[in-house]
Symmetry: C2
Subunit: 215 residues, 2 copies
């Protein structure tokens, strides 16, 4: 019972961070197996047997292997409904999913290791150019979030009183962006990030708290 | 009543194609307003007022403005349940969402107009290099799909007897890939694409059938 959930993750993975937040929000015990995505461990045959995309995270629950962070978040919410991470109204659910996807489908895919590698091999991008590429897209993502929050201010979370998967995915975007130092350009984002990080699960699951993270 | 659904789309947009399939599967009348993403019409203030990300599609239903294709697909399925585009079992739902996200969150974001533009401005990529970049990621996506389908063959659709949002998102990936001519390298993908295209809604909604598409 205690050991029924295994998360293949890594401290640096923003997508794994999302899943850790949900697991901790739900109070679910889990075991995390690190897959070092900086050295390319995800490309090995062993991990390929676990995850056909060779990416983290993968969640194993009761013998079922689940992949793609947003699919895992919804699975956890449907399987362990308390506390809920999704609203009940269809239009609100669509809003929450869309806000989550700004990070999951639009910003984050552009900065993952396979992108960085391809920029180097196809265009000869040096580390500084790769970094500039990543910073550009993280800032674009934050600018989009700031516009969204200007039209509908978080109150105090994206969809109201309690955190949803929108806040979880936003927080993952912010965890990376805050390292880049430009988050003060986006005051509504900065305030929402503070609200999120005051939630114990968001703080405890943070990348820098994961074993293996730099001191 | 007939005119309650407006889709801001474009013939070339794979994400708009997904939404058109769902609308036609559900038998919902809609009006499509083209936003020319090849000339940059999406970056204008007019469309920015509709969509904070300046991307297509946007769906307007009963005064609600919805964005992000996967969020729109789930909204349509929750609001108009017949025929269902999602399974009922939580693990099956997670599988369907994950297979959809292989396109929505991993392959497609790497080939959209803003990416192509950034490759040109940051790395001086010429049109052939941009094309090679796109082909690389579309092929990577297909290789992932082929691995997924080898482990669990479509029967005949991704999750069984009827199409789901997994098939819809796969079909959007395939619509672009088939133009590139390498789909025969992936026989399970090619067979599933044939199965999908035998569904009237998938065929009728195809990018090349949309007003404005090249003859």
């Amino acid at each position: 019972m205690a050991e029924t959930i295994t998360l293949y993750g890594f401290w640096r993975s923003l997508a794994a961070y999302r899943v850790r937040i949900a697991l901790q929000m739900k109070g679910l015990p889990y075991r995390e197996i690190p897959v070092d995505i900086l050295t390319g461990e995800q490309h090995g045959a062993d991990y390929g047997a676990v995850n056909p995309e060779h990416v983290v995270p993968t969640l194993v629950h009761d013998g079922r292997t689940l992949f793609q962070s947003q699919a895992i978040l919804e699975y956890l919410d449907e399987t362990f409904p308390d506390p809920p991470l999704m609203p009940t109204d269809a239009a609100e659910r669509a809003y929450v999913r869309a806000v989550a996807l700004v990070s999951v489908a639009d910003a984050h895919p552009l900065v993952v290791p396979r992108m960085r590698k391809r920029l180097a091999t196809q265009f000869g991008a040096d580390p500084a150019a790769v970094e500039a590429w990543g910073t550009h897209w993280m800032r674009e993502g934050l600018a989009t979030y700031e516009t969204i929050f200007t039209r509908r201010p978080p109150a105090p979370f994206v969809a109201g009183e309690t955190p949803t998967i929108a806040d979880i995915c936003f927080a993952s975007h912010m965890a990376a962006s805050s390292l880049a130092g430009f988050t003060r350009e986006f005051p509504l984002c900065a305030r929402l990030a503070e609200t999120c990080m005051a939630v114990p699960a968001f703080a405890a699951a943070h990348p820098m708290k994961v074993p293996g993270a730099p001191a």
